[in-house]
């Protein structure tokens, strides 16, 4: 079964590069531009197997998205992999895995495949 991914990132170029790289690896990919966008899509019924979440985004950042996701019983169980350019995460965030930019495709695919 094809794994469904939701990429949440405000950076157009990185979002497209991620989507293209993961689609080439056989994943089914959807994209959102910030946390509020993702939350709306999820509440409208989108059910990915995994969310790839950027942290620093306008409108609703990754921390706020994750907090909202965890308080919604219908969405709380969807695993999250965080993508960040920051060093230590402040405040910390509850995630399956943290990918630090710039990462290699092998690492990305490994983490996404295992999560």
């Amino acid at each position: 079964v094809t794994k469904k991914l939701l990429i949440v990132d405000d950076d157009d170029a990185l979002r497209e590069a991620l989507a293209d790289a993961l689609a080439l690896e056989g994943f089914d990919v959807e994209c959102c531009v910030h946390g509020a966008d993702a939350l709306a899509r999820l509440r409208a019924g989108l059910r990915p197997d995994l969310i790839l979440l950027d942290l620093m985004m306008p409108v609703m950042d990754g921390w706020a998205f994750r907090a909202a996701q965890l308080t919604d019983p219908a969405l709380a169980a969807i695993p999250v992999v965080v993508i960040t350019a920051a060093g230590p995460l402040e405040p910390p965030i509850d995630a399956r895995h943290v990918l630090h930019k710039p990462f290699r495709i092998e690492e990305l695919v490994g983490v996404v495949g295992a999560a």
């Binding site: 170029a13 293209d20 790289a21 950042d61 495709i105």
Partner: protein
Amino acid sequence: MAGERVPSTAAPDGADGSAAHAALRESEEKYRALFDHLPMGFTLCRVIFEGGRPVDYVHEEANEEFEAQTGLRRADVLGRRITEVLPGLRGDSAGWIELLGNVAKTGKAIRYEHLVSDLGRWYEATAYRPKPGYFAVLFLDVTERRRALEAAREANVRLEQADRRKDEFLSAASHELRTPLATLRLQTQTLARLLTRGPPDEHRVQRKLRSIEIQLDRLDTLVNGLLDVSRVVAGRLELEREELDLAELAADVLERFEDAAERSGSEVVLRAEPVMGRWDRVRLEQVLTNLLHNALKFAPRRPVEVTVSGRDGQALLVIRDHGPGISPELRARLFGRFERAAESRTLGGLGLGLWISREIVAAHGGSISVESAAGAGSTFTVALPRRTT
């Protein structure tokens, strides 16, 4: 002076009277000289009690140095109540009248440092009781030392703030560099993978190459921004002036912003009249780019107006947005190096744009200012002299 005994002042008997008198005078002169030439202020005060409580005191004696240390003339002080001489002492929260009155009452000496608000000076002092109901004070003006300490403390706070901002800047710079790097790595690796799977779709390859080029431009801009910091710090921001029309320059920059404005959902309107001057084209484009970039970043989905006009030998470039406005607190430090709005945590940015812009405008002999009110948007005005020699 410790252990030195004051000779008895009791009147001697009979024929020894004149000798004793002379000895007494000699002793008096000796102690008067010690008192007068003391390189510290000295004063003897009598405490006025009401119901056993000290309410005021009167200066009965003061040495020469008293005048140098306080700037007060002894003639204006001696015999007068302190609250007449220094009325501010009455409302003094430290309660000095009571504290010094207690020295006269209990005999327990105190050492202290305090600000005499009426004189605007700090003193380091020791008060002791020479006899019941009195206190004497030895004091030195330490205002300069206090000010130096205060200045050092303030400088230290400023350094700590600058240090913190530098850390934030390094963290932001690292963030800003890593995102295009991540895109570059993904795109080049994806290209390589596409090529291993047979002849790739040419359109897809072209799109990837274009994306790579855009990321390289982004990195180039970032690195140039960092180089600008060292240029400005080293005083090496040099201008290449040429005769140019500011209205034309603004139109060129706005054209380059069409895509960004569309993405932001903002309409950017230019109202410009030709204004000629000798300026550095690239640097002024950088200023307008920074200001427009901020307007689209902080005030998305709202119109932005750019105006170019000439007035009184000056060219005015005005960028007005209709965003949330800038708080007075942020406005005060907006043009500082490494200063970033709180929103930059989520919106990105190095905190260099406005600082560099101010430096560029200043190098042209002009000025940059901002007017803003909460909820009413912000207006940045760049004023440039039109002719320079």
